[in-house]
Assembly symmetry: C4
Homo-oligomer: 249 residues x 4
C-alpha cells in the first residue's frame, strides 16, 4: 500500500456541491450528524480513502472486516448536492492529520466543492439543557450568514481551538480559497450526544435550506438517557473491585 | 540498514500454501498457537524480516542476541502446506504496522498463498470456562465455512475491531484478493493463555484438515494455573511496599 | 500542503537585524515578552511559516480560524531592527523541532540576522520574589557582555538543558555561525508569568539599548495575582467532586 | 540540517581498534564507564554525530550550549586502540534508534573496528552487594572468552532483551559481521551507579588487557551513598505537600 490509496466508486456530476465533514470527535457529534444525513437521504458512495496514517486496524461488521478509512458519499438534500465525508477514525499522527485532510480537500475540489461545513462538538463539561451551536469560519465574510442561522460566535470560544480534521478543513481549506465553517454543537463531552448532533443538523438545514427527519436520532437520544439513568443507579451501588489478576508473560 | 531487510533462508516450492500469522497480542494466543505448530511439525525457516519499524531491541537467547524481526517458516501439516509467520514483536509505530504487513503479504504472495488465517485472542475481561473462537473474515463468502468449523460470528464483536498485524492481514490482504480470516480465541486478557491457543488450533485443524498433539500446550497451561494459584495466595498476604529509592541523576 | 509553507507578507530592508524568538514554553515567558514587543513597537508582519510539524489545529479569534503557524514581524526598537518570531505552538514531534527551527533560521539569515536572542523561562518550582534572568550562549565570547547586562550564568543551570525551538536556535544557530543567546526569566513554572517576561525584556533592553513601556504587562501581572488569590480562596472551600459521568461509545 | 550531520575532528590511524559504546541507560552504567575511560586515558575527539533523531535540546555547560549529539573519541589503552562512543542522549524515536546506530557503525567501520563492546546496566530491582556483570554476544563464539573474563551468561537474562543503541550495536553490528558483546553491570536501577560501572570496566580491562585507576569513580560512588543516606533521613520526616498552585493559561 502507498501512503494513500483512494478507491473511486462513482463519479456523479454534482452541481455546486457542499462538503460536509463528520469524523469522530467530541461527543461523536459530527459523525452522528453526518451519518444521519446518509441515513435520511438516498446517498451514493463515491470514494474511500485508505492510508497508513489511519490507525492500523479493521472494524468488523457482521463478521466481515473493513480496513480503517474514510468515505465520501454524494447525496441530494432537497436540491442541494452534498459531498459527505465520514468514517470511524481520525489520523494517528500529527503530520498524518495534515496529509489526510489535504487528500480530502483534493477530492472535494475535484467534485467542485467551494463551500464546506465541518461538523463537531464543543465540550462544556456540564449536562446541556439547551443545545446551542457555536461557529467558526475560515473567513470573516462567512460569519454574518451563520449568525442569521442561529449559530453563535463567542469571544475566545472554543478556547483550545479546533483540533483534527475539522480544524484543518478550515485551516488548510481556507488557505486554498474554500469557504469553510465549523458547526460545533454544545455537548457535555462525556457522552455520545445525538441531541447535540440534532442541533448541528438544525443549523445546517437552515443554512442549506433542506429538511430532515430526526426520528432515528431521537431514538438514539432516548437510548443514551436510559444508559445514563442506569449508570446513576449503578453508582449508588458499590463499585466493582478490580480484578486481581495481572498479565504474566 | 534500509527500512526493511529481508533475509531468505530457503525457497521451497509450496503447493497452495496457507499463510498462518501469529504475532504477539492479547493473551499471546496467536503467538502460542503459531509457535505450537512450529514445535509439532517439521518446519523450515524460509525468510526473516528486519525493519526499523520493529522496536529498537534484541532478544537474548542463551547469551546470544537476535535482532527484533519476524520469521516465516514452511511446514507440511498432514498434506497442507503452511507458511507460518511468527516473532516477538509488533510494529512500534502506526505507519510501520501498515508497511510491515504489506511486506509480509508480499512474501506470502511470492510463495503463492491465496488464503490466510490470522490467529489471536479476544479479551473478555473474565476467566473463561469454555473457550469459544470468534471469527472475522475479509469476505462474506468465507463466513459459512468458518461457522461450519465451530467458529462463532457475533454481532458487534470484537467491539474494538482488530488491531495490529492481524487486523491488517485481513484489511490489506482482503484488498489484494487474499481470502483472509481471523480466528480469535476467547481469553481473559490478563494472562498468557495456552488453553485459548488450543481452542484456536482446534478450529484451524478442522478448517485445514490436520491434527496436532497438544501435550506441550497442556503443560504450559498447567504451569499458568500454578502461577495463578500462587498469585492468589500472595494476594492474601500483604502487598510489598514500594522501594523508597528514587532515581537520582 | 508541503512539509513547510512559507507565506511572505513583506520584504523590508533591515539593518543588522537581531532575531528575537518567543514561542510558548515554561510560564509562557518567552511568548509574553515577544508579544509585548509587538504591542509596544510598530511592527510589520513579514512571513508566516505553516507546517505539518505543528499540531493539527486552528486557533479561533473572533470566530475566524487561523491555521497553526509561527510569524515573523519586523520592528524598529529605538534604532535597532528586530525580527521577532512568535506564535502559539511548538512542533509536535522531535524531528519536527529540528526541521522547523532550521526553516526559522533560514528566514532569519535571509533578512541578514547575525545575532539571536531566544526568550524563555526557567522553572524554579517556587514563587519568585526577585526575578533573575539566567543566560546561556552558543559561544563563550557572548557570556561577558550578557553578564554585564545583569544576566546570570550559573553552574549546572538550567539542569535539564534547553528544550524545543529556543534550545535549537542556539544549538543549530550556533553551528551556522549565529551569535545566539537564551535569556530565561526565573518563574515558578506553575503560572503564566508576566513579571518574569518583564525581567527578560529588561535584560534585552539593556543589551540592545532600547526602552519599552511595561504598562500592559503590569496589568496582566495584576490579573494573574487576582487569579491566584481567588484560587487560594477556593482551595479553602471543598474541592468539587468529579462529575460521575463517563464517556460511552 | 540534514537527517544526520557528522563533524570530523581528527582522522587518527588506529590499529585494530575496538568500539566501546556507553550512552545513557539503566543506572547510567554504560555512560559512566565510557566517560571514565575518557577521563583516565589521553583521548582525542574524532567525530560528533548530530541528528534530528536526538531530542530537540541543548545541554548547557558553564553557560555555553552544546547541541544534542554523540561523540567518538580515540584513545590508546595500554596498547589497545579504543574508539569510545558516548553522549547524553539516546534517540527520541524508534526508527531513529536504528538509523543512528547504523551511522555509528558506519563510522566505527571506517576506523577499522571489527570488535565492539556495548556497556550498560541490567536492573535487578534490589540494592546490590556483589556487582556481577551479565553478558550477551552477537555470536556464540564470543561467549567462552567472555566467561573466562568473569562475565556471567544466564538463561533468560536480561529478560526484556537489550533496548536502544546498545542492543542495536549487537543486532545491527552482528548482521554486518562485527564481533559485538554487551557487558551489563548489575544495578538496582534506581540510582546512578558508579560501582556497577566499575564492575563493567573490570571485565573490560580483563578482556582487553589494560588497567585503569578507579579513584574518581570511587569518589562518585561515595557521593551517591551520601545522597542515599540523606534521602533515607528525609523520608523519616514528613513528605512535603504538593504546591497547591496550578498552571493557568
Amino acid at each position: 500500500m502507498n501512503e494513500f490509496e483512494i478507491e473511486r466508486h462513482a463519479d456523479p456530476a454534482l452541481s455546486d456541491p457542499v462538503l460536509i465533514e463528520g469524523l469522530p470527535g467530541v461527543g461523536h457529534v459530527g459523525k452522528l450528524a453526518a451519518d444521519h444525513l446518509l441515513d435520511e437521504f438516498e446517498s451514493e458512495p463515491v470514494a474511500t480513502v485508505y492510508s497508513e496514517h489511519f490507525p492500523p486496524q479493521v472494524t468488523v461488521d457482521d463478521g466481515v472486516t473493513d480496513l480503517a478509512g474514510a468515505e465520501f458519499h454524494a447525496l441530494d438534500a432537497d436540491g442541494t448536492d452534498l459531498l459527505v465525508l465520514t468514517g470511524d477514525h481520525q489520523a494517528g499522527d500529527g503530520p498524518g492529520h495534515y496529509r489526510l485532510t489535504a487528500r480530502f480537500l483534493d477530492i472535494a475540489e475535484e467534485f467542485g466543492c467551494e463551500r464546506a461545513y465541518a461538523l463537531g462538538g464543543v465540550p462544556t463539561g456540564e449536562l446541556i439543557e439547551e443545545y446551542a451551536v457555536v461557529g467558526a469560519a475560515s473567513d470573516e465574510a462567512l460569519v454574518d450568514p451563520l449568525e442569521d442561522a442561529g449559530v453563535e460566535f463567542r469571544e475566545d470560544e472554543p478556547a483550545g481551538g479546533i483540533v483534527g480534521v475539522s480544524g484543518l478543513v478550515l485551516g488548510l481549506g481556507g488557505r486554498r480559497g474554500l469557504d469553510a465553517a465549523c458547526l460545533m454543537g454544545e455537548t457535555s463531552g462525556y457522552l455520545v450526544d445525538p441531541k447535540s448532533a440534532q442541533a448541528v443538523l438544525d443549523a445546517l438545514c437552515d443554512l442549506l435550506d433542506f429538511e430532515v427527519d430526526y426520528g432515528s436520532l431521537s431514538e438514539r437520544a432516548d437510548e443514551m438517557e436510559e444508559v445514563m439513568e442506569k449508570m446513576q443507579e449503578m453508582e449508588t451501588a458499590q463499585a466493582p473491585t478490580d480484578d486481581d489478576l495481572r498479565y504474566i508473560g
